[in-house]
């Protein structure tokens, strides 16, 4: 436990001392803020249009949940931004230790790989929270100012989804970083892997064969959609948790293999 906490603290320190963390945070907040504004504007315009049309035709407009539309749009954008930024924060997590030789210190200390991997992953998860939590400001504004107010549960489920998705992406990033000692290689490979996981369902045919279903199941985005709608389905939660487990397990295998330790 003590070792684990020491690794968590050390990783957080490393993250927040490097400029990367601040650049990532700044970019993340700027883009999420901007898109929130755009999405809000679009939805308001759409609602006004409908009101205007219904006035012209003298009929009541069909019901439309405007706040939910904003939330859905917002979490959709959030996931895309995470896809781009997470490789930036995972690329160095093991690659940098190898490049600087500090992996020799870690591997010759009485630490288990589990402590090391979980410590690093926890630090990254905490960083993810630092990214996600401030965006709650947007949601609070939406909650206070919109009429009718959005359902609180919808927003919370959305955040849970973003958190799980982020966690799964982090686990993949950690694994890829453990394969190389070059940060850029790690970042590019991680981003490529994310893209494949993102669009993989496009390669699935239209039929409902087992292959197609499997490919569709693997698409990391399909599982995210329900969360943005405020629907909490245990199968999606399990999907992301098993993704995290797989990523960390592969990291452990990669550290054990010792092939690169020339």
């Amino acid at each position: 436990m003590r070792n684990y906490l020491a690794i968590v603290t050390k990783e957080l320190r490393t993250l927040f001392v490097s400029p990367i963390a601040y650049v990532v945070l700044a970019v993340f907040f700027a883009i999420t803020g901007y898109f929130f504004y755009i999405i809000l504007g679009n939805v308001i315009e759409f609602v006004m249009q409908r009101a205007f049309q219904s006035q012209q035709f003298g009929a009541a407009p069909p019901p439309f949940d405007a706040p939910a539309a904003v939330i859905r749009g917002f979490f959709g954008v959030l996931s895309t931004i995470l896809l781009f930024l997470i490789p930036m924060i995972t690329m160095g997590i093991f690659a940098e230790e190898k490049k600087r030789g500090t992996i020799e210190l870690l591997f010759t200390s009485p630490l288990t790989h589990l402590q090391l991997i979980l410590g690093k992953f926890t630090a990254l998860i905490l960083f993810l929270l630092v990214m996600l939590v401030p965006t709650i400001v947007n949601s609070i504004l939406l909650y206070l100012l919109s009429e009718p107010a959005p359902r609180l549960v919808t927003m919370l489920v959305g955040y849970l989804g973003a958190f799980l998705l982020g966690g799964a992406l982090l686990a993949v990033g950690v694994f890829i970083s453990s394969l190389t000692e070059n940060q850029i290689v790690a970042a590019v490979l991680t981003f490529g892997t994310f893209l494949i996981l993102w669009v993989i369902d496009a390669t699935a045919g239209t039929g409902s064969t087992i292959t197609n279903e499997t490919i569709r199941y693997l698409s990391i985005l399909n599982h995210y959609e329900d969360f943005t709608k405020g629907v909490l389905d245990s199968q999606h939660v399990i999907f992301y948790l098993s993704f995290i487990f797989l990523g960390l397990f592969l990291t452990s295998v990669s550290l054990d293999s010792g092939k690169w330790r020339g």
């Binding site: 070792n3 020491a6 490393t14 600087r100 030789g101 210190l105 591997f107 010759t108 009485p110 630490l111």
Partner: protein
């Protein structure tokens, strides 16, 4: 304290070390000597538990490195060739982190910190960021890191590399001061370092142990005769013939005269000391003797001799096998 038995490490098809066996007693300083790429680092990494050997077994501080790695790692301080430093940390923060993961008790960390800093000459540098330190100071932090948990065994890979002469002397003294309480293995490709700090030397080349002995024994065993340098003023035309009258003198060579002094190198055979005979000959022939000193074979020469002998032997055996094949 350290037992290495038939250690072999292969990376794919290349063999880094082959059948390396040795033992280090408690409190001893063992020097690992060899050219770059001889397998020093590989051996040390195996002993420190960084990676497992392909074959063989290593027991460090009473525990098998492969079966009880955590127990071994608690008792070993390892300083890799490039000190494993987190440059963005201050010296104190770094040493505190290392102390924690090495399992130093929470309430002992402060005292250990000030102890190693004093030992390694870092007392004033605690709050400085490691990236702002000079190479020599970084090396000291690397050494402090290896000492922080009072390990029984210290494994130091090229501890004096990149230091200036004054720092090298300091580090050597520090290492010598560690003997007794700690068992130390250090590697180097600088030969005088071994004779200055180590009680026993292992010379390793191409992944195999060439020889294992005390520095003094190595010098005397392989020296086989002495080389005596003379500085002489006067006509030296007959000197060579005169000196050869002494039966032990094998060879006499004249160097380039400098400031009217003629340097002469006399090589002798056997263990008899003939310096007085040489001096008498020189004086009797009416020449002025300014200097007479013996030159023992340096470890450099022993090293070159051993490693080249090994190669020629290998070549010979290869030729023999080829001949056998053709027959």
């Amino acid at each position: 304290m350290i037992q290495a038995e038939h250690l072999t490490k292969r990376y794919g098809f290349t063999t880094a070390i082959q059948d390396v066996s040795f033992e280090v007693r408690k409190g001893e300083i063992l020097g690992f000597l060899g050219p770059n790429g001889a397998g020093k680092t590989t051996t040390m990494r195996i002993l420190a538990g960084f990676f497992p050997a392909t074959e063989g077994r290593a027991i460090v501080a009473g525990f098998d490195v492969f079966e009880k790695p955590l127990e071994v790692k608690k008792r070993v301080g390892y300083m890799p060739e490039h000190p494993p430093l987190y440059e963005e940390m201050s010296v104190d923060a770094y040493l505190r982190f290392v102390a924690t993961i090495k399992g130093v008790d929470r309430d002992k960390i402060d005292s250990r910190l000030s102890d190693v800093k004093a030992r390694c000459g870092l007392a004033e540098e605690g709050s400085r960021l490691i990236k702002h330190l000079s190479k020599g100071y970084k090396q000291r932090v690397g050494l402090a890191q290896a000492l922080i948990h009072e390990p029984e065994v210290l494994i130091l890979d090229e501890p004096t590399i990149g230091l200036d002469p004054k720092q090298i002397i300091e580090v050597r003294e520090l290492i010598r001061g560690l003997a007794g309480d700690h068992t130390v293995i250090l590697s180097t490709h600088i030969l005088p370092e071994v004779s200055m700090t180590c009680e026993r030397v292992i010379i390793i080349n191409n992944g195999k142990i060439v020889v294992m002995d005390t520095p003094e024994n190595l010098t005397s065993q392989l020296g086989g005769g002495e080389r005596i340098e003379l500085d002489i003023v006067g006509p030296v035309d007959n000197l060579s013939a005169l000196l050869r009258e002494i039966p032990q003198v094998k060879n006499v060579s004249l160097g380039e005269p400098q400031n009217a002094r003629q340097p002469v190198l006399v090589e002798t055979e056997g263990s008899a000391d003939v310096r007085h005979l040489i001096a008498r000959k020189v004086i009797e022939s009416g020449l002025d003797l300014y200097r007479l000193s013996t030159q023992t074979m340096t470890l450099e020469e022993i090293f070159v001799k051993l490693t080249t002998e090994e190669e020629t032997q290998e070549e010979e055996t290869e030729e023999e096998t080829q001949e056998e094949e053709t027959e």
